[in-house]
Assembly symmetry: T
């Protein structure tokens, strides 16, 4: 199963900035661990600080990947355009956040993307990506959305 | 690891009502499947339509269970009192929702509970509970919250 | 035709409190009069101050009664959970209010329940219940909702 | 007992437009049925699309009719002037709506007229007018508003 | 000096309704008194309950009268169209209100017309019209607006 | 193809008032030019300052004209009743505005009518009507709405 | 008849600042003209930029003057304390404004004082004070507020 | 003098949770101290996490106790139903809060109950209950509310 | 123990105005009674209608008095500057109100000062000052804030 | 006449996604048809998902093209920066939308760009671009904006 | 060049209160340093806690000083009257703040004064005054505002 | 001392567009003047219209430059992502604006960036950059932020 992880603005700073909020390992290191632990998935990773490049990537991934894990960072709360892209493509998108956005500033409580995502996983640190990957696994007797 | 699942109002109607939103199996049946699939957990389940009984249960579980999975149903959007209880106890609480609350009526977009929960898992059908259980597992190299 | 009347918080004080707003006969006395005047209906009555008990009763009545008349009192303006219960059950629910809620405090102008009710009858004193009962009668040439 | 029914804008289209919302018989046909079924009332009917003409009619009816049933259509949500007229006259006015305005667009959830009406009957299809007529009947043991 | 007084909805009920708010003499009687007391003015009077007729009258009066005194009644708070008409014509319009609209319901605190009027006189009972007439008189040493 | 142009309040003042906003030719003159330039259309024109008369005209035109061009003037921002009429009739309605309403006062930024219109053409001066007429022409390869 | 005029902040700058809004004669000069033209009144004048001094003056004037004309300047829109003083005293207070506050910035559209004043006269330049004085005169046949 | 203290949700956790906000002695211990220090009062105590049970208790206490001290906890900010109960009963209710609710989250700044209470005492720690008790004592020369 | 009572605008009118709200004895008389009843306190009293003088007094009292009782009157709802002064000084400030501000106009429901005060005592008539004084007394076994 | 069409985010998906909203032909195909049908125009076309690239293109086109047709897609509702660019350049910009944005989600009802555009054409499917092109043609007797 | 520094409420507490926000030297000491470092300026300093005195000072300084540096403290967010004074005088006013008001409580994010000031300098500690002084210096090649 | 100036969207148009707001010299020319006048600084300059490129540049500058001067143009009011980048890096960022954003449209009154910047300098034309540079200089006796 091919899954693409897309990270938005400032997530390339992970492990370098604000460690109290985001932990102290880089996403690249975490991604290696993820690949070895989820050997049954074919994982790819993309990061950009540019809103439009995130849209480009969502469109390119459509039909090629079976699932997308999206952490749109600061664009989560302001981007109608990314949300439209998530809605436009066929590949299901799971929204993740490392920190608990509901426990931070009020403008972070609203996600413009969530309504068009398959589901949202919020606040489990980097483990949010683990859980998002799990969500793409089919399990006996548990009905899909 | 002892985990308690607490369901709020109308979730006892699961499988009986609005199947297009909530799927068509009862929570009791789903709970049996969950127990057999997560044999390494000791699982318990409680449901009530009464806001104050949910608070009673959260308080009783404190110190006895190592984790609580809470779907507060309609109280999610209105109950300061349940949110206070989640904040008051030591046992970490993971919030789950079966449907994508961000894709429904606007008053369902805000959770009063989320800010005090450890994290939120929203929109994966009953699989949301699976993922919530997974979130309590420790995994090598993935930093905790 | 079996109809259940459900009254919410403080409506057990009818005839004892604030007579200028709610009149001066108790609901029990009124209910006797109602039963004798609407002999072709089989009427039942339930009151509770507990939000969750009102939900329990709505769920129990489903499929057993052919109609429910609900005056949710103060919960009318705050309870997503009761509104969800009204939506979840098959039995049609008619919302009634004794006083004209639109002529009172602004927070009473919005009913969270109305959208899921079959219809609303507001402001006719206890006669609101009479009219609600009438609404369940089929009449020649008048199309249903 | 002399009762006047006043219908506002677009209600002359009843039975001709949007049948899924408003049913498929014209108000004229319904009015004939109403007259025959409520033979103890002397019923009159007026319709206009002009806000000011509705006010004219409310003023003219004052003191001549013993009750007015008013469906102000789209003016319900915008007309301070009609609401003032309802307040100014002595004859009691009952507000009716065919559809459940609380289950439609948000701007239809507020009635400027309701606060000055005797009561409101909402969402029972054309039967709302039947119930409004009933509300003018005096009934033993049921206290008036 | 030719001055036209235009009264809006329900002001034809003056002296007949809500005497505690609006006094107990009819506008016709008051208008006679006004004419005799302000003999140096040529006064005319128009009333309608129809918003569009008030606009018609404002347009007709343009260039013919040297001043207009407008009490738009309930349309004061809702009519962009009347406000546009006041702005479109050359003849200056003075807004009057009999009651103190700022001491009544909140929706009466905003006048859509005031911004396009020459000035506003509010709350002096029928004397508001006296003062509005005075405002059209030129006085030595007092600069115009 | 029969098209009706309906103009709302104060548009009869065109060419006479506020020339900096609305240009300096009357709508009657413009209408003659329009007729001669669009000889393949059968054009009709109606203007009223009365909200309800605009509704009357929309209802009368239904089924007789193949298209309606509506400039509701100041009622654009306040009239639920006209918007309901646009929705109720079968004939498609195109909304036009002479000035750029989005560059004027904030209350002009919202059109209650737009949601029920086929489309909106805003800000091209009187040419907005030309474009609205063009919109009713069928063109090869350009898919309808 | 003893009348006190109270002017608030920056009105001592009249004739010196922003002449396009406030005219070009000082209030002192205007006050002299007023005294000579209204010889039947005993007029007094007070100005302060200090909110609390305006309150002091309102309290001192109570029972000594028969009327107060108050232009609270910028405090009009922010001072609950002055409004409370106006309400607390027996002497009637008439609110005046030189400019049309409804045609200026939005925060000037609301007067906290108006609700407790006898009436308001707005937008007639310095003539607003003339009209306010007139409002204290009793006139035959014109009923008081 | 018989006084009942009613505590709402999570106040049974006092001394066990969030000691930095609520202090570290249990309410039971505090209540014993209160009884010994206020020996001239007959004191009773009730706690529940259930909104409706608090209403039941308020109703039962009516006419039996001479005063009620109510700390509704999280229901303070959301419960119209409890506020209605406070209004409905004859026994005066004094609202208390341990913490300074105005210095905490914004949703805690509004009390739905305060308007119907006799008075409010907020932010003095457990001493708030002491002061509430004092408020029921009659004192020479100090006028009642 | 030295305590200073500071009263804001219009509280010098106590006993002279609006007796239905504020009672009918002057604050001076009440203060005498207070002094004799609380002989163990050294009490001082200051009143001003000037916002800045209240700030001056708060600053002067800092370090000299052990407690301040502040009734900021109308400034309660508008003064960031007084609230900043309360926060800036070391001496604890208790906020009092004579009337129940939550039962009056909506703009009186918010106190800008409360968040920086030690606590608030609202609605007990002049007895509010009694209770505020009590709040400065240390009592065995009752933990401070 | 040289005209540039600029399309924003996700409009490269036209004909591939959400055909029920946007039709089923690609913009490239539509553009060919447009070129052949409007042979008197020299047409160019640019699309990007990147907000800043749209700004770059608007700046580059300034002075080179005589008109720009802009569909900013999702950025319409969020981009102050694009709106500033439209305002900064000399070449007139006409805003188009394929779908009726006023009949979709509420956040699509406001265009930040409209106020700085020459005019807006909304809701005619791809024909919106046809009409935008027409709007650049000069026509005898029809006054420009 | 003569410059006046005006400080508002509580800024006389500088160095004495809340040192973590405002630093620990008094403004008097800082002012001495400023004078010695900016020897080419003639500097004056005024502080008051009284809103109206700040207005008095602004008016007195007009025409006498060539520049004013204003830190209105808590009045920044509430005073229309001070803002009017800034607008009324000819001498340019530069607004300064010691702390970053945008990083503090939400009510401090809006300055009523900024719109009428020449410019604003916010958040540089006492150095904000240094920068404000610099802003009055003319520099070659740098165009004035 | 190494300082980087980063300019956002449309600031490359400086001197070419809207000269009444932004002056008539290009930023390149101004930058040359700045370099010669501030010879003790090592200055660099970057401009982009792309939001994400501004974030890239902020991240690259971190640790290399000792200060950043940021004018984010239109993104100032909408970009959570840029604000997050400012917060994430160590190098202090000073926000500047050429025009007085508080005297322009209301949406320009709020800066999302200001809360995370060291300070803001607004409205001094290009001289704002001069002042921002000065702010990085250390001065004897003036305490840093």
């Amino acid at each position: 199963m091919k899954i693409l992880i897309i990270n938005g603005p400032n997530l390339n700073m992970l492990g370098k900035r604000e460690n109290n909020i985001y932990g102290n390992i880089s996403f690249e290191d975490y991604f290696l661990s993820l690949k070895s632990r989820f050997a049954d998935f074919e994982l790819d990773y993309y990061q950009s600080n540019v809103e439009g490049e995130l849209i480009n990537q969502l469109q390119k991934a459509d039909g090629i990947f079976e699932g997308i894990i999206l952490n749109a960072g600061g664009y989560t709360h302001t981007s109608v355009a990314i949300s439209d892209a998530v809605k436009a493509i066929e590949t299901p998108v799971v929204e993740v956040h490392i920190s608990n956005i509901f426990a931070r500033e009020e403008f972070r409580h609203i996600s413009l993307i969530a309504a068009n995502a398959k589901g949202s996983i919020i606040g489990f640190g980097l483990k949010s990506y683990d859980l998002a990957l799990q969500s793409f696994r089919k399990t006996v007797l548990v009905p899909g959305r």
